[in-house]
């Protein structure tokens, strides 16, 4: 049953996923793929919320709510990010982060 | 006499300058302001004498104190003793001469005179402060204008020099601030700390604290007064600065350091002064000898004077380091004397430069024939620099030597002999410069058309020469003025020994 799997195991999955997302964020040069990495990171967080809620505080629903809100915000964020990316593409003809380095000094 | 006037008056002058239009108004206001400063300084001297004559034997006279920032126990505490009066006189002399030689300043004259007067305010404030915080405050006030004066009106590699000077002096200030804070936090008056010089002098700062903070304060002030090896701002700074700024820099600003070394470092931390005196002597001797030899190799008149300033300011530090009353008096005399003399030298160099457009020794020659007044001023400054009797340099140097020799330690004696030897080297480089520049055949036919000094330049030179000769011919008044102040310092030092 579910009790055979401890919270730690689930946390292992979410942590791993988190760092996979981080790795993607560091190495991807394409902005869209960076956005995808961020989605992975957000999802790993969601897993954590849900798992904590289920295992540690079954009498509450706060974790669930956070997950729902995060999903909502992620949707908004993705929309905005993509709008920015498209705009950048229009001005730079590229969505490579290395090409958009005006933000310095 | 209300000492605050010494700060308020330059401040008002500076403000009025800001509202002037055109060079004529600006320089008139600046001249009037500086003339009033001079008169006030002389009045201060007379009133000080009066005060002493009627039997006022308190260490500081004309004291005034008001709370500035109560939580940290910072007071605006001012007062003067003989040493301060001497330094104030020096400042007043140099300021008016500086204003006079800048009479025809063309670019941005309003800002220029504003900064000059502002700088003098910092110097006055510094010399009359008896509160370490206000002292530091005025020290900073005196630093910033220099950066601008060199950076804007300078010549040559002025940005580099201005930057170097400002950074090194700021570094010095930072060290000074550490030293002052160290003193502050080691004082305890009814549970609060104190910045007050007079209060600190009466209590005994723990030896460990003194040993720790003395180097900060001394080296910090030492940078101002060209302590080896932190003297490298001097040649570059002076050579790039406009004439008046050079005069202020060498005449006043370097004295801030000497005064600080004496009043703050030595006076407030006498034990440490004893402990570190050999280091001071060592550095001062190196500065004297090595500055003199380095001068010998210079070809630019301003560099010559700048390096010779390193050498001469070494005497100040030597006098302080020897820790005998005569030597400390000598150090103060040397400060005053060097201030006047080097200002005169820079003024003469500036006058020569503005006519011939060169400061290179080998390009100049025979100026005595075409511009006798300026050349004579140059020679007089040179002779004062090499310590000719009748001029202030002799009195000061001899007092330092005589005082230094009173210290019977062999190493100190050796240092004294080396310092004495520098007078020969000084003679070599001064005569070399003077012999080539004002004597000898005329090297450039353009020089035949040079015009001699204008009235303002003559006045500036005469004012400074008056000061130099007044000390050189009759040194006793200055000596008597300074001695009570140095006696106080000696008492501190003697107590420090007896406590051991």
């Amino acid at each position: 049953m579910i009790n055979e799997i401890t919270l730690t195991d689930i946390l292992f999955v979410s942590t791993a996923l988190f760092f996979i997302g981080v790795y993607g964020f560091f190495t991807r040069r394409n902005m869209i793929t960076m956005l995808m990495s961020i989605e992975l990171i957000l999802n790993s967080v969601n897993i954590n919320f849900v798992a904590f809620n289920k295992y540690l505080f079954p009498q509450h629903l706060d974790g669930i709510f956070f997950t729902i809100f995060i999903i909502t915000i992620a949707a908004a964020e993705a929309a905005v990010a993509i709008a920015i990316i498209i705009n950048l593409y229009r001005s730079h003809r590229s969505i490579d982060v290395e090409d958009a380095s005006e933000l310095k000094y | 006499m209300n000492l605050s006037l010494l700060i308020i008056l330059p401040f008002i002058t500076a403000i009025v300058i800001l509202f002037c239009n055109g060079l004529k108004q600006v320089r008139t206001v600046a001249l009037i302001g500086s003339a009033v400063q001079l008169i006030m300084a002389i009045m201060l001297l007379i009133q000080y004498w009066n005060e002493r004559a009627i039997g006022n034997i308190s260490q500081m006279v004309f004291e005034y104190s008001c709370v500035w920032f109560a939580p940290l126990n910072i007071n605006f505490h001012i007062g003067v003793d003989g040493i301060s009066v001497a330094m104030i006189l020096l400042t007043a002399f140099v300021v008016i001469a500086g204003v006079l030689v800048s009479w025809t300043m063309e670019t941005l004259n309003k800002e220029f005179f504003f900064l000059l007067i502002f700088l003098s305010m910092g110097a006055y404030g510094f010399f009359i402060s008896l509160d370490l915080f206000t002292l530091f405050f005025f020290l900073e006030v005196a630093v910033i204008p220099k950066f601008l004066l060199i950076g804007i009106w300078g010549s040559g590699k002025k940005e580099y020099s201005a930057m170097k000077l400002a950074l090194m002096l700021m570094g010095g200030s930072a060290l000074v601030f550490v030293g002052l804070s160290g003193l502050y936090f080691n004082t305890n008056i009814n549970g609060t700390h104190s910045f007050d010089v007079m209060q600190i002098s009466k209590m005994h700062i723990p030896l460990e604290a003194q040993l720790l903070f003395f180097p900060f304060a001394f080296v910090g002030f030492g940078i101002f007064t060209a302590l080896f090896p932190f003297h490298t701002w001097v040649p570059d700074g002076h050579s790039s600065a406009p004439t008046a700024a050079s005069m202020f820099l060498a005449g006043i600003s370097m004295k801030l350091g000497g005064y600080g070394c004496l009043r703050v470092a030595t006076y407030l931390m006498p034990d440490a002064a004893h402990a570190y005196s050999w280091v001071i002597i060592l550095l001062a001797t190196i500065a004297i000898i090595y500055g003199a030899f380095a001068t010998m190799m210079q070809t630019d008149l301003k560099y010559i004077n700048a390096y010779s300033s390193v050498s001469h300011c070494g005497f100040v530090l030597l006098g302080i380091g020897m820790l005998t009353q005569t030597s400390i008096t000598g150090a103060v005399l040397q400060m005053v004397s060097h201030g006047l003399m080097t200002a005169l030298f820079f003024a003469a160099i500036g006058m020569i430069y503005s006519r011939t457009h060169t400061r290179m020794v080998e390009q100049l020659g025979g100026l005595l024939k075409v511009i006798p007044f300026i050349s004579s001023v140059f020679v007089i400054a040179g002779l004062c620099s090499l310590g000719l009797p009748g001029f202030s340099g002799f009195v000061a140097e001899m007092t330092v030597f005589m005082g230094s020799w009173q210290n019977p330690d062999t190493m100190y004696r050796t240092a004294t002999i080396l310092a004495c030897a520098s007078i020969v080297v000084t003679a070599v480089y001064i005569l070399r410069a003077a012999g080539k520049t004002v004597m000898g055949p005329i090297t450039d036919e353009h020089y035949f058309h040079l015009t001699d000094a204008t009235w303002n330049e003559k006045l500036a030179a005469i004012i400074l020469i008056t000061g130099i000769v007044a000390i050189g011919v009759a040194p006793f008044w200055l000596n008597d003025l300074v001695t009570p102040g140095t006696e106080q310092i000696m008492q501190q030092l003697a107590q420090a020994i007896s406590l051991k």
């Binding site: 981080v22 964020f25 560091f26 190495t27 960076m34 982060v97 958009a100 380095s101 005006e102 933000l103 310095k104 000094y105 | 950074l167 090194m168 080896f228 090896p229 490298t232 040649p235 570059d236 090595y290 030899f293 380095a294 010998m296 190799m297 390096y307 009353q325 005569t326 025979g366 005595l368 006798p372 002779l383 090499l386 310590g387 000719l388 009797p389 009748g390 002799f394 001899m398 005589m402 020799w405 009173q406 019977p408 004294t416 004495c420 030897a421 007078i423 020969v424 003679a427 005569l431 070399r432 012999g435 004002v438 004597m439 000898g440 055949p441 005329i442 040194p475 006793f476 000596n479 008597d480």
Partner: protein, 643 residues
């Protein structure tokens, strides 16, 4: 005894003249300035002679001794409760004699210059400088305080610098002036340190007290100065030797004499004043002033003796080979001052033993007259032929009779032929040397022969030898003002030998009975006559014997002609060692190492900030990485390191 208060006028008049002429002379009374200077100085001279009369004949001796009177003294600079520089005036036989010599010779020079310097552009400046010099010299001899003396000593140095460099657009004159100043300055360094040592041990700067303390074997001061030592030499010896070094510098003793020949670049009357009668004898005066202390310390006195004797000989040898007439005179001066020095050196304090002291000052006195006469005569000659070189002269005796006669008198005086002034003083010196140091005596004897030889070489080369070939217009002997001093000085050179100096100036103030020992004087006079005869045979008429002889001497002649290469040695030391090995490295180190360190510091800071600036690359991923690393780092820090 305060009736000497007017004496301060003697030095004050010249300084007032200096200020007047120096500040306003050029503009307002350039042609009058000579008269003004001369008048003011003649007042001084008159007062000096009056003082001498009063001191020696009116006041006279008290208890058989001339008293030291200090009519004026006030504290000038208080170094410490015990040590101060006092400005004062001392009146004692020594200073009174010097006063007379200085003002008198100076007056002669002033008068002579009226003609000699006429038409100079900077006539007023010249007289101003002369006045300054006279003032300094008077101040020097009147000093009551060793530091006061040092001050005037320096002032003498600078006024001599100004006078030597009077023709400042001539590079050689500037170089000579610089050399004179720097060499004497170097010597003054010794003087200064000597003063410091003496002052430290004697705890005073006052001559009277200093001498009293350092000659009393019981005093604590003498104990401290004898016991403390450096390199095995006592502090007293160090102090006195270093003080003598100052004297040797001013008096052009070997090896500090190199400035004197070059100093002949100055106007000739200046040489007569400075390099014959006044400044160069300051060293003798200094040793004489401190003589009681020197007597207490034999080793210092021996230094004085041997330096003096060697200088006398060396200078005489060099003088035989020089062709510039002023240089011959310069070396002759050096030689004669050497006499004075060793004469002091062989002397002892008091009584018959103190003969050397008296003889030295006697010689100083007589020498002042005939040597300034020689210089003025040379000036007169130079004024006529416009050259300093012997080869441009010859046969002038017809053209300038007064100069000729007075010059001859002076030559005879310096050669020591009786009854001219030099004979008496030299006689006493040789006698003193004979009694105490045979080596020095023989050196002196030989030198006196040489002296006669080279002086007559000079005399014949100028006035005989060949027919005069003068070109140009006016060839008169010079103005009236130039002739008068020659005549007066010539008379003095004849007569001053009869002044009974031995009654007035002795080491202990008690008069000394001297008599001419005829048997003893035969040798030196014979030697002098031999020298004169040799010179006559070689130089009276033009012949090739001098060249042959000089060739016979070969290398030695060459070396003497080149002044034994001493100048070159100095040049080497200064150029190669001081400039190249100390000065240049110092400047280099400052520029590159000390300043370099500062610049390095600035450079490191700049590089550091450049590095940090690089972190701000504008690359989002890099930022994210730093952010991440930061969080990671902080997490480790807080979890494991901060408990």
């Amino acid at each position: 005894m305060n009736n000497y208060s007017y004496i301060s006028l003697i030095p004050l008049l010249p300084i007032a003249t200096f200020l007047l002429l120096g500040l306003f002379g050029r503009k307002y009374f350039s042609s009058l300035s000579g008269i003004i200077g001369t008048l003011s100085l003649s007042v001084s001279a008159f007062l000096s002679i009056l003082t001498a009369y009063k001191y020696f004949f009116v006041d006279g001796k008290v208890n058989g001794v001339f008293q030291q009177i200090i009519p004026l003294k006030y504290t000038w600079l208080q170094f410490s409760p015990t040590i101060s520089i006092d400005m004062g005036i001392v009146v004692d036989p020594l200073s009174v004699m010097m006063l007379v010599v200085i003002t008198f010779v100076s007056l002669m020079v002033h008068v002579f210059s009226l003609g000699y310097m006429k038409g100079e552009e900077r006539f007023a400046t010249y007289y101003a400088f002369l006045s300054l010099f006279t003032f300094s010299m008077l101040g020097l001899v009147l000093s009551t305080n060793i530091f006061q003396m040092y001050m005037f000593w320096e002032l003498v140095g600078v006024s001599s610098f100004l006078l030597i460099g009077y023709y400042f657009d001539k590079p050689s004159a500037v170089a000579a002036a610089k050399k004179a100043f720097i060499v004497t300055r170097f010597a003054d360094l010794g003087f200064l340190i000597g003063i410091l040592i003496l002052a430290f041990h004697a705890e005073t700067l006052d001559f009277q007290t200093l001498i009293a303390r350092l000659t009393d074997p019981q005093s604590s001061q003498i104990l401290s100065s004898v016991t403390s030592s450096l390199f095995g030499v006592s502090a007293l010896t160090w102090g006195l030797t270093l003080v003598f070094m100052g004297g040797a510098g001013k008096s052009a003793m070997f090896p500090l004499h190199i400035w004197l020949p070059d100093a002949m670049e100055g106007p000739t009357p200046v040489s007569a004043l400075i390099h014959a009668a006044t400044m160069v004898v300051a060293g003798v005066y200094l040793v004489a002033r401190l003589f009681p202390v020197y007597c207490f310390d034999v080793s210092a006195l021996q230094v004085v003796t041997y330096v003096g004797a060697f200088s006398a000989l060396l200078a005489a040898v060099i003088a035989c080979t020089q062709t510039d007439i002023k240089r011959v005179l310069a070396y002759s001066t050096m030689s004669q001052i050497g006499y004075m020095m060793f004469s002091l050196g062989v002397s002892k304090y008091g009584g018959e033993e103190g003969l050397g002291y008296m003889a030295s000052l006697f010689h100083l006195f007589t020498h002042a007259f005939f040597k300034s006469l020689l210089f003025l005569g040379a000036g007169s000659v130079i004024h006529m032929v416009h050259s300093n070189e012997m080869k441009d002269m010859g046969g002038l005796r017809k053209h300038m009779p007064i100069t000729h006669i007075t010059f001859l008198i002076a030559c005879l005086a310096i050669a020591g032929i009786p009854p001219f002034a030099g004979f008496f003083s030299k006689e006493e010196i040789l006698l003193a040397a004979f009694h105490s140091n045979k080596l020095v005596f023989f050196v002196a004897l030989f030198t006196s022969g040489l002296t006669a030889f080279y002086m007559f070489r000079l005399y014949y080369s100028i006035f005989w030898k060949k027919a005069a070939h003068l070109h140009g217009e006016h060839h008169d002997e010079g103005t009236f003002t130039m002739k008068i001093p020659l005549v007066i000085l010539g008379a003095c050179a004849l007569l001053v030998g009869f002044v009974p100096i031995s009654q007035f100036i002795t080491s202990d103030g008690i008069g000394l009975e001297t008599h001419i020992d005829v048997i003893f004087s035969i040798t030196p006079v014979a030697l002098a006559i031999a020298g004169i005869l040799l010179a006559t045979s070689l130089y009276k008429n033009e012949n090739d014997r001098p060249i042959k002889i000089s060739l016979a001497f070969g290398k030695f002649y060459e070396a003497a002609h080149k002044k034994f290469y001493i100048d070159e040695v100095y040049l080497f030391i200064i150029q190669k060692i001081i400039f190249n090995l100390i000065g240049r490295p110092a400047a280099w180190i400052d520029k590159n190492i000390v300043d370099g360190l500062m610049n390095l510091l600035a450079f490191i800071t700049a590089e550091f900030s450049e590095f940090f600036k690089g972190l701000q690359s504008g690359k989002v991923q890099s930022y994210a990485l730093y952010f991440f690393a930061g969080i990671f780092g902080l997490a480790v820090l807080f979890i494991y390191l901060v408990k």
